[in-house]
């Protein structure tokens, strides 16, 4: 029995077909997530994309943090307007050839928060999550990504964002869970690992530890920045892979402010080397035999 003529089911099916049609040209869809805010997901995403692209991969990033988009700024394409072409929205490219799509490119002013048009803002919790899922679906399906080796999808904090992405992409190449070596961070991250494992399978989940240590700029002495639990042990305990550690380096944030991935700006630093190692681990992770 139909729905009296609106064809809502077929409209939703068309949306899914559009999405899957677009995603078919992308070899590895990779979610970068945490559940926790402020752990360095976007910094890792921009640098992984740059490292992968420098290694010859066709890479793109989708900033799925609709309310706090940062990737356009971090990759230096904030001012680039989106163009509408015959195959969808043409995303700008950041060196060395990373396609970038972010809500930031659609907002009018720096200080403009994301707001949806509505006849009344009262009770917007009823429909806001649906609107955000629809926006994310459009970003995935209506962007002319072309053929890619990697699409890195940078998720906002909150475990609910994992469920939203999984409803759109039931199969992905990898879910990278970013954590800090602290109990507070891992308290949330463990929830994200559980959810990602349930939704996509443990075989695609990998943990990256950020801010893993600090090297003194004067004497080169290395210290742990936090004295919390080891993230590799947490990954082992939860039955998922561990992909590497990134040391703390203030240069990462400075490079992000300049719109240039640190991995290209400070190639000789231990931090850049660690980022390249995680990119290599990711590549091996998604291309390993099933």
């Amino acid at each position: 029995m139909g729905d009296a003529g609106s064809g809502v089911a077929s409209q939703l099916q068309d949306q899914t077909l559009r999405l899957h049609g677009r995603m078919a040209a992308i070899r590895h869809k990779v979610a970068i997530l945490s559940g926790k805010g402020g752990v360095g997901k976007s910094t890792l995403t921009s640098n992984l994309a740059a490292a992968l692209a420098e290694g010859g991969a066709r890479a793109a990033v989708l900033d799925a943090d609709l309310h706090g988009p940062a990737l356009a700024k971090m990759l230096g394409v904030r001012g680039a307007a989106l163009r509408f072409g015959p195959d969808g929205v043409e995303p700008p490219e950041a060196p060395p050839g990373i396609k970038v799509l972010s809500m930031d490119q659609l907002l009018r002013r720096d200080e403009a928060p994301l707001r949806w048009k509505a006849p009344t803002s009262e009770g917007d919790f009823v429909w806001r999550a649906s609107a955000e899922a629809a926006a994310l679906r459009e970003f995935l399906s209506d962007t002319h990504w072309g053929a890619l080796d990697f699409l890195l999808i940078d998720l906002a904090p909150g475990t609910d964002k994992i469920s939203t992405l999984a409803s759109l992409l039931p199969k992905i190449g990898a879910a990278i869970v970013v954590t800090l070596p602290t109990e507070v961070s891992q308290l949330t991250v463990r929830k994200s690992i559980t959810l990602a494992t349930e939704l996509w399978g443990a075989s695609v989940v990998g943990v990256v530890e950020n801010m893993a240590g600090y090297r003194c700029g004067r004497c080169g002495h290395e210290e742990r920045l936090f004295q919390g639990p080891d993230s590799a042990a947490m990954a082992r305990e939860m039955g998922v892979s561990f992909l590497g550690r990134i040391p703390f380096d203030p240069g990462l944030a400075e490079a992000a402010d300049r719109g240039a991935p640190y991995v290209r700006q400070a190639r000789e630093t231990p931090c850049a080397a660690a980022l390249r190692a995680v990119a290599a681990a990711l590549r091996s992770f998604v291309e390993r035999p099933a």
């Binding site: 029995m1 139909g2 729905d3 009296a4 003529g5 609106s6 064809g7 809502v8 409209q11 939703l12 068309d14 949306q15 559009r18 307007a81 989106l82 163009r83 509408f84 072409g85 969808g88 929205v89 659609l106 907002l107 009018r108 002013r109 403009a112 928060p113 994301l114 707001r115 949806w116 048009k117 509505a118 006849p119 009344t120 009262e122 009770g123 917007d124 009823v126 429909w127 806001r128 649906s130 609107a131 629809a134 926006a135 679906r137 459009e138 970003f139 209506d142």
Partner: protein, 209 residues
């Protein structure tokens, strides 16, 4: 969601969609077997939920545009090259967090015998043996019999201001008589003698619209 004609046990077909007007969609369904029609009104939250799913009630009439949803829904978006923002929903009048519009109308029907009740189908537990057999399928927009008395101002003493009449003209024709009647009941109950846009807005809020 679908509507069934209880008499014929048939799924009703969507006939027409109008709006959104003041955040409300008006959707008309008809039974293909007996021609019986019902109108569904959505309140702004219901309208917005449908919009948030990025589906069109009544089906799509044009091909999908790239990022059509985001471009049409962003309240503070910037123009992108080659594409303009779609028209927004018009501003709404004062809204009330109270309940469903249908419950308000159902209450009106209960308070006013014959106001909304389907002709030929008495309310549960009510006998209509004494009533003359009404036309089971009155034409859309056809005025119904005057409703019974309500507390407050008699309907005959109610007047509509020109502004209110103009605002009523914006309501889809097929539900206009029902809206007129509902607002007149509201005005009578609240002691208004002149129906103005302000009274309409107040009624709208009371109906949860």
């Amino acid at each position: 969601m679908r509507f069934l004609c209880v008499t014929c046990n048939e799924a009703m077909k969507l006939e027409r969609v109008e709006g959104p007007e003041d955040g409300s969609l008006s959707v008309l369904f008809a039974c293909a077997a007996c021609g019986n029609r019902v109108a569904m009104l959505t309140n702004p939250w219901e309208t917005q939920l449908v919009r948030a799913l990025d589906v069109r009630i009544g089906g799509r009439s044009s091909p999908v545009e790239p990022m059509e949803f985001v471009r049409s829904m962003l309240a503070s978006g910037r123009e992108a090259g080659g594409g303009g923002a779609s028209p927004s929903l018009p501003a709404t009048g004062p809204a009330s967090p109270s309940g469903c519009p249908f419950s308000a109308m159902a209450n009106l029907a209960a308070e006013t015998p014959g106001a909304i009740r389907q002709p030929g189908h008495p309310a549960i537990g009510e006998s209509d043996a004494s009533e003359p057999a009404p036309d089971p399928h009155p034409a859309i927009g056809e005025p119904r019999a005057p409703s019974g008395p309500v507390a407050g101002v008699p309907n005959s003493q109610l007047a509509w201001s020109p502004d209110a009449e103009r605002r009523l003209e914006r309501v889809p024709e097929f539900i206009r008589p029902m809206i007129r009647q509902s607002i007149e009941h509201f005005a009578a109950e609240h002691g208004y003698r002149l129906i103005t846009p302000e009274v309409m807005a107040e009624a709208r809020g009371a109906f949860g619209m």
